[in-house]
Structure formats: structure tokens, C-alpha cells
């Protein structure tokens, strides 16, 4: 396998585009990524298109918008890890030597569809009659498992929202750019205990794209190629209770272990992480799953300031964090987490998310992330998880 680089990335601002078709959103992202790379449609030898709701022919429809060059198209659907799985296919296509330059595009048009998993036949739906199967329930219970094991308080989880919402004020491409102090997060409408509305990511529309090529080819386009140091995909292994309560932890731990081995980079070497904070509870679980802190330390980790931009809690939130901080705690990793604002603020158009996370890391590694730039970023990790269940991890380096 040869070295693979990313030479162009883009994402459109996530939000609501009722007057556009998903293929137009994707084409916008694709053409912007080409421009970013200094490449043209004729340079792209294959397209990997991630889209969950328009799976059949999604990529061909994108090409109908941005350039019908007749190249092979692979359409990818893999739950919330759809976009990142498309990127991984692009990675392998180049790493194997089959192609020199390809594109991964992720897109989704969700509209205002409300809660994921809430639809069904009123007569035979299980929801509320044999438990709950909606994503808020799953991630509420996943957080409660952590609370059961380690005594984690709702405030610990809520601090992830305070942090990510603050980060989002520095990201013009985020769907929401609104700060929320701890009391506002805690007092927001309850969705599924312990996650309030401000601890849940929004639905929305969006697209992101990446131009992927061999390292050799990359040097013809840029002096700043970003290396894909690891590209990993796992599914959920058998665990007790796993068929009843989806296990979001084991497959992430497995993916992290492989990614760290593949790249030779450990959690202590990471400048930043974009992880799958679909709910605030999930962010804390993934600190531990990705090895950013020890098991049971996630609450202390978020309160330590380590995952905040600048590696410290800004003065305005000191008072919020103080009661939950442990002054003796030494963070294992100082990786800033979700500088983009995370899914909690940036939004989560399913198919677009996995490519957008990678675009964010690329911008930081290039020093192009504006006000939210993580200083001297050298290595970043992008993590996505979709139920039931797929997990991708990409590690990128300069």
C-alpha cells in the first residue's frame, strides 16, 4: 500500500436548504474541493458518494450536476458513518494503486424530519410500548451506563455542550453558532434523560467533499499535502446485552487501537480530535474510548479544560466548570475536541458528517481554521459512529 494524501477539502454551511436538491449541495462541495485542490473534474478517476436517504444512484446524480465524465461511481450507505466510509473507500482505491486521484463526497438532505427512528406504523410500532428505540433513548441510556459505573453527573455531560457551543461561535460553517452557559443547557427542555435539547445534535442538510490522491501526485498540486496516516472501519462485535442496548464503546475502542497502531501516533500525540458527539453523553464516552483519558475520567477531563480550544476553560465559563474540576487531575491527552463545534452545533446531515470532520482536521493542519485554529496542529483524529453499528477513525498528519 502506498502513501495517500488529501489535497482538497470543502464543506457547505450545514443548515436547511429546502430549495435545493441533495445533488446540488454535493456538487457545490465537490466543485469547491476541486478548486481547493487546484484540480479539475478530468483529474478525478473515481467518485465515492456517501448518502443515506438517496442511496440508489446518489453519486451519479452528483456527477450529473458537477461533471459527467463517465468515471466509476460507488454509492455508500453505512449509517452515520456513511461519509467517512466513502472516504475510506477513496483511500483504499488510491492506496492500492488502482487510481491516482479520486473524490469522496458526503451529502444529506434531512429537512425537518424530527427524531431519528421515530417513524413507524402506529399499530405495530414498538416505540413506547416495548421500550424505546429512538437515538435519544439509546444515547441517554449509554450515558446512564457511565453514570452507573462511575457516578457521572448530568452536569459533566452538559459541559461538553457548553464547550462545543462555544467553539461553534468561531465556525461560520456551523448550523448553529450560539453559546450556552451550563444553566441554560441544564434547564433546556428534556429530550431523553439526561440529554436536554441543547445536548442533542440537530438534523439538517449539508455536504462535504475531499480530493484524495497518492502522495506522489499530491506534490504536483500542493506543498502542503495532508497524509492519511490511518483509515479504519469496525463493526460491533458480540457483547452481552449488545442486541438489546447498542454498544457504542467496544467498536470505537477496537477502531482506536488499530488506528493508533497503523499510524504510530498515540492519543498523547494528537493536537485535536473531531469525535461523534451526536449527544453530549456520547462525547464523554468517546474521550475514554479513544484513550484521551482513563476509564471513568471523562467528567474530570472535560472539566480540566484540556479538550477546550486553547487547552483551558475560558474565564466566562470558569464558574460553571469549577465545581466539577479536580485540580489534581492530569490529562493524558491535550487534544482539543470538536473545535468545529461538533455535531452538537455544526449539525449532522448524516452522509456529510464523516467527510466534514476530516475537512475540519485538514484546515487545522494547514493553519486555515480562522478564529478556532488549534495552535501548531500536527496530528488530528476524526471519529464517526453510526448505529447499528459502524465506526470509522481517520488519523491525519502534516
Amino acid at each position: 500500500m502506498r502513501e495517500v494524501a488529501i489535497v482538497g477539502v470543502s464543506m457547505i454551511k450545514f443548515g436547511r436548504y429546502p430549495d435545493r436538491d441533495f445533488s446540488q449541495l454535493a456538487a457545490q462541495a465537490g466543485l469547491d474541493a476541486l478548486k481547493d485542490a487546484g484540480a479539475q473534474m478530468k483529474d478525478i478517476q473515481a467518485l465515492y458518494s456517501g448518502n443515506l436517504y438517496a442511496t440508489s444512484g446518489s453519486g451519479q446524480r452528483v456527477l450529473q450536476q458537477m461533471g459527467q465524465t463517465g468515471i466509476p461511481v460507488v454509492n455508500v450507505a453505512n449509517a452515520c458513518a456513511t461519509g467517512s466510509t466513502a472516504l475510506r473507500e477513496a483511500f483504499f482505491a488510491v492506496a492500492s494503486g488502482a487510481y491516482d486521484m479520486v473524490m469522496a463526497v458526503g451529502s444529506e438532505q434531512m429537512g425537518k424530519q424530527g427524531l431519528l427512528g421515530s417513524r413507524g406504523d402506529p399499530a405495530t410500532s414498538l416505540e413506547g410500548r416495548v421500550g424505546s428505540y429512538m437515538m435519544p433513548a439509546v444515547f441517554g441510556m449509554a450515558g446512564m451506563e457511565h453514570a452507573r459505573e462511575y457516578g457521572t453527573q448530568t452536569e459533566h455531560f452538559a459541559l461538553a455542550s457548553v464547550k462545543n457551543h462555544w467553539h461553534s461561535t468561531m465556525n461560520p460553517l456551523a448550523q448553529y453558532q450560539k453559546e450556552s452557559p451550563l444553566d441554560e443547557v441544564m434547564n433546556a427542555r428534556m429530550i431523553a434523560y439526561p440529554n436536554t435539547l441543547l445536548m442533542c445534535c440537530p438534523t439538517g442538510d449539508g455536504a462535504a467533499a475531499a480530493v484524495v490522491c497518492s502522495m506522489e501526485k499530491a506534490r504536483q498540486f500542493t506543498t502542503q499535502p495532508i497524509k492519511i496516516a490511518a483509515s479504519v472501519l469496525t463493526s460491533d462485535p458480540f457483547v452481552d446485552r449488545g442486541l438489546t442496548l447498542p454498544d457504542i464503546n467496544t467498536l470505537t475502542r477496537n477502531a482506536a487501537k488499530i488506528a493508533y497502531e497503523q499510524s504510530g501516533i498515540g492519543p498523547e500525540d494528537l493536537s485535536q480530535v473531531e469525535l461523534h458527539d451526536c449527544f453530549a453523553t456520547a462525547e464523554l464516552l468517546h474521550y475514554e474510548n479513544l484513550g484521551l483519558c482513563g476509564d471513568g475520567e471523562a467528567g474530570k477531563h472535560v472539566a480540566s479544560g484540556a479538550p477546550w480550544i486553547g487547552n483551558k476553560v475560558p474565564a466566562k465559563y470558569q464558574e460553571d466548570v469549577e465545581p466539577f474540576a479536580d485540580k489534581t487531575y492530569k490529562p493524558k491527552s491535550k487534544a482539543v475536541v470538536n473545535a468545529s463545534g461538533g455535531l452538537l452545533s455544526k449539525g449532522h446531515p448524516l452522509g456529510a458528517t464523516g467527510v466534514a470532520n476530516v475537512a475540519e482536521i485538514v484546515w487545522h493542519l494547514r493553519g486555515q481554521a480562522g478564529d478556532r485554529q488549534v495552535e501548531n496542529s500536527k496530528a488530528g483524529l476524526a471519529h464517526v459512529i453510526g448505529l447499528c453499528s459502524a465506526c470509522t477513525i481517520h488519523i491525519l498528519t502534516k
Binding site: 427524531l115 421515530s118 417513524r119 413507524g120 406504523d121 402506529p122 399499530a123 405495530t124 410500532s125 414498538l126 416505540e127 413506547g128 410500548r129 416495548v130 421500550g131 424505546s132 428505540y133 429512538m134 435519544p136 433513548a137 441517554g140 441510556m141 446512564m144 451506563e145 452507573r148 427542555r189 428534556m190 429530550i191 431523553a192 434523560y193 439526561p194 458480540f238 452481552d240 446485552r241 442486541l243 438489546t244 442496548l245
Partner: protein, 142 residues
């Protein structure tokens, strides 16, 4: 098709892991145990997701008593379900875990404890256009 139209409405379990008896008191949760690796599943299985055996499976009757592993309270629900309600994962006595609702207590965090003892019961929860009734299992504090 004519045969179908003549069929009298049925009482059906809402999920395959619920076995209905003559009366609601006789309903029980069913499971299956892989005879190759001994893994216990809730509901019927054709293949084993752990050891890949193509059976055989031994049908087992699961306990009606269990303990709360984790819980949540759903406030934002589907239109045809009254919120808030409690959703929980129950570890059954003797093995098997089920997703369920706990009723008989107010859906408030202070009323719920990890490890609290609960007991299953069944009741009709819905009816389709053909008049068929659906029975679901729920749990209440033991």
C-alpha cells in the same frame, strides 16, 4: 384472499420474543440457547451471531423478574405515544436482557434506581385496521 377476509381478528404478540398464553397471566418472554456455544438470546434465532453455528437452538422460557440495568425518561415521543415515559434495559433473572418500559411509577429520575427489582406483565397496547390486537410486555416495580 377471500380466505383472509373471512379470518377472525387475532390477538398477536407485538414482538416475537413474547409468547402468548390463554390468558395474559400465562404470557412469557421466550429465548433460545445455542447448543454449540451456550449463548442465550432473547427471542427465536436461526443462527448464532457469536459462534456462527446454524443451530440447533434450545427454546427457553425467560424469567419474568429482573433488575434495571439502565434507564432513561423519554420526553419527546412519537405522536401516538403519551410522553413522558420510562424506557429501560432489564437484566432478567437467569439471563437475557430486554428493552422495555417501566410503568406504575411516575417518570421522574428520583423514582428510578440502577439495580431496582422489577416484574413483567403484559397488556393489549394497540389494534390495527383489520381489528387484530397487539399485546406488549412491560415492567413495574416488584
Amino acid at each position: 384472499m377471500a380466505e383472509k377476509a373471512a379470518t377472525a381478528p387475532e390477538t398477536r404478540p407485538l414482538v416475537p420474543h413474547l409468547t402468548l398464553g390463554e390468558t395474559r397471566e400465562q404470557d412469557y418472554l421466550n429465548g433460545s440457547r445455542c447448543k454449540n456455544c451456550n449463548t442465550l438470546y432473547v427471542g427465536p434465532r436461526l443462527f448464532c451471531g457469536k459462534c456462527s453455528a446454524q443451530g440447533p437452538f434450545e427454546s427457553v422460557r425467560l424469567a419474568s423478574e429482573g433488575e434495571v440495568h439502565v434507564w432513561t425518561i423519554i420526553h419527546q415521543a412519537t405522536p401516538y405515544v403519551q410522553a413522558p415515559y420510562i424506557a429501560a434495559i432489564i437484566d432478567l433473572k437467569g439471563g437475557g436482557s430486554v428493552n422495555t418500559n417501566i410503568v406504575g411509577i411516575d417518570p421522574l429520575p428520583e423514582n428510578l434506581k440502577f439495580g431496582m427489582k422489577v416484574k413483567m406483565f403484559t397488556e393489549k397496547v394497540s389494534e390495527d385496521r383489520e381489528g387484530n390486537s397487539y399485546v406488549a410486555y412491560r415492567f413495574k416495580p416488584a
